[in-house]
């Protein structure tokens, strides 16, 4: 039994490359399932934000105080939605650290999956978990009947938080490329908690001394936190918030892209 060169050529022609650089929904589903299998991630991104909301968001002393177009409970709900979504996005991005350590990234280079498709899957995984995180906090807000704002603001605030969390998917990717796998989760949790305080997600930074406030305004969650509350507060957008978000976006995406390129061309 012999095969001719033309049969080989036909076989070669039949071997197409996958569309979209190998991006596909099966892999995406498995990525999401993997992330949900990590109990610590689920607790931090889904349970913590709801728990914090039930403690701080329902405090009778201030929960019903009017603020902007809504009330204090709604304000806290948006903050904690952001906290959860940011944590989710960072966790999804930081998974690359574990994948590099386990040699999975290298294994993927033996498949047609393009690096860009890989990153896209990580970002979409981050968005799915982030959406879940925002949703549960908002549902808790609705069910407890304390958070109050016009219906359109629930949608606008929720979407701003969700889309804004993408900044932290890039942050997670950068951390994933920079930090060793053994302690990436611990370091990341610590950093995010500090950044959340500095960004004013837990307590308004106006309660800090002036010098601390000045420093906080440079941190990556500050601008984003201000922006996602703008619709609720009905105040104008301060351009420094936008600059803050864009500058950090450039730093995170640029840093991740740089590390990523070094990683894939490592010879």
């Amino acid at each position: 039994m012999s095969t001719t060169p033309s049969a080989f050529a036909a076989d070669l022609a039949a071997r197409r490359m996958p569309p979209a650089g190998g991006f596909n929904l099966t892999a995406l589903r498995l990525e999401i399932r993997r992330l949900l299998r990590n109990r610590r991630t689920v607790i931090i991104t889904i349970i913590f934000p709801v728990f914090f909301f039930l403690i701080f968001g329902l405090n009778k002393a201030y929960a019903s105080d009017k603020i902007g177009h809504g009330n204090e409970a709604a304000f806290i709900m948006v903050s904690l939605g952001l906290y959860g979504a940011v944590f989710a996005a960072t966790s999804a991005g930081a998974m690359v650290s574990i994948e590099r350590a386990q040699g999975w990234s290298r294994q993927l280079r033996l498949t047609p999956l393009s690096p860009v498709a890989y990153i896209l899957m990580k970002v979409l995984t981050a968005l799915v978990l982030g959406a879940g995180s925002v949703a549960v906090v908002f549902i808790a807000g609705a069910l407890t009947n304390k958070a109050s704002m016009p219906a359109y603001l629930w949608v606008v605030s929720g979407l701003s938080v969700w889309v804004g969390s993408l900044l932290f998917a890039a942050f997670g990717l950068l951390m994933g490329f920079l930090l060793p796998a053994e302690n990436v989760i611990q370091l990341m949790s610590l950093m995010l908690t500090l950044l959340s305080f500095a960004g004013g997600l837990f307590i308004p930074i106006s309660q800090f001394p002036q010098t601390v406030q000045d420093i906080c305004k440079w941190t990556p969650l500050y601008g984003l936190n201000q922006l996602v509350h703008t619709p609720l507060l009905g105040t104008g957008v301060d351009w420094t918030w936008v600059v803050n978000v864009l500058a950090w976006l450039v730093i995170f995406v640029g840093g991740a892209a740089l590390r990523f390129r070094q990683d894939t061309s490592r010879v």
Binding site: M1, S2, T3, T4, P5, A7, F8, A9, A10, D11, L12, A14, R15, R16, M17, P18, P19, G22, N24, T26, A27, L30, R33, R34, R37, N38, E99, Q102, G103, W104, R106, Q107, L108, R109, L110, T111, P112, L113, V267
Partner: protein
């Protein structure tokens, strides 16, 4: 798999089927270490080739270059006439790596399913699992699998694109005897369908038992290339051992066929290229008794060719390239 070997084992001369692997003058160094020091090698479609050498001989570095995981400092590499990365994207080549490459939190089935989803054409995950002999542990988490099971999972993953060329980098390292046997029986069954296989190993038995052709590497260079019997013949000859009281090495140098003579008390050991003549001489012309003739195994060939002492270095610098045929000829004279 539409490409299979012709009966004669070669492609029609007029054909344009490119070789599965073509390496020309490939060099790669890491700092001061020359991991790959000028390798030229062509693997034809349908061959099963063992890349044999001691640890640190440059096997993995060469394989990384074939797979496009690393770029050579100089020289060229092509897989079915194209760059490795492109051959991978078309599913022509896949590999079973030595370690790593698995996610502990996925199940065995999910891992194969994930891999399958990345190719334009792939086999069914269930089918690949049963071919790799791990269908019954499909729902087990990868982190809970034994080393042998993980290795068969890597094999199942490598089967997904139904590649023309399968590359295995020391696939049985760390496996127990049974795991090794099971793994090789799965590979062998698969290769019967005509897949080209290149595997790196430092186990001589594996190279001897499973390869059509053995490429021996040492210090990043190919020191021998031929069939298992040709490689064995390279360190050809037999050892004749006899009891001969009062023998002196000097007296025995002229014994017919003798190459190396050693006297240990009353025992003489003569490494001979013509053991029949040596034995006949000892039995008829001397008082030798208790005579034994033993062949040198592939193990000896391996040590002779890859050993680090100056004597064997000299042996194989003479043996590079055409050595296989030369020695085969001298072996034929026995």
């Amino acid at each position: 798999m539409t490409v299979t070997r012709t009966d004669s084992g070669t492609w029609p001369a007029s054909g344009t089927v490119p070789p599965a692997i073509e390496l020309a003058g490939v060099r790669k160094h890491f700092g001061q270490v020359r991991a790959v020091d000028g390798i030229d090698m062509t693997v034809a479609s349908g061959e099963i080739v063992a890349f044999l050498g001691p640890n640190g001989a440059g096997k993995t570095s060469t394989i990384d270059i074939v797979l496009g995981l690393s770029r050579p400092d100089s020289g060229s590499v092509s897989v079915y006439g194209m760059a490795p990365r492109r051959a991978i994207a078309h599913g022509l080549i896949s590999a079973v790596m030595q370690t790593g490459g698995l996610l502990k939190d996925l199940t065995v089935y999910e891992t194969v399913e994930y891999t399958a989803s990345l190719f334009a054409h792939s086999q069914s995950p269930r089918e690949a699992l049963s071919r790799a002999g791990i269908a019954e542990i499909a729902d087990r988490r990868v982190g809970k699998c034994s080393g042998g099971e993980q290795q068969r999972l890597r094999f199942a993953m490598a089967l997904m694109p139904d590649p023309e060329l399968l590359v295995l980098d020391e696939p049985t390292t760390g496996m127990d005897v049974e795991g090794r046997r099971n793994f090789w029986s799965a590979i062998r069954k698969d290769a019967e369908q005509g897949r080209t296989v290149l595997f790196a190993t430092h186990y001589l038995e594996e190279a001897d038992a499973y390869a059509d052709r053995i490429v021996l590497v040492r210090h990043g260079k190919i020191v021998a290339d031929g069939t298992a019997s040709e490689i064995k013949a390279m360190a050809a000859g037999r050892t004749v051992r006899a009891t001969l009281p009062g023998a002196a090495e000097a007296d025995l140098r002229d014994v017919p066929g003798a190459e190396v003579v050693e006297v240990r008390g009353e025992t003489v050991l003569i490494h001979s290229k013509d053991s029949d003549a040596t034995a006949r001489y000892l039995l008829t012309q001397t008082a030798a008794r208790d005579l034994e003739v033993t062949a040198r195994g592939i193990e000896d060939a391996f040590i002779a060719l890859t050993g680090d002492d100056t004597h064997s270095a000299a042996t194989h610098s003479a043996g590079t390239g055409t050595a296989a045929t030369d020695s085969a000829a001298s072996a034929g004279a026995i």
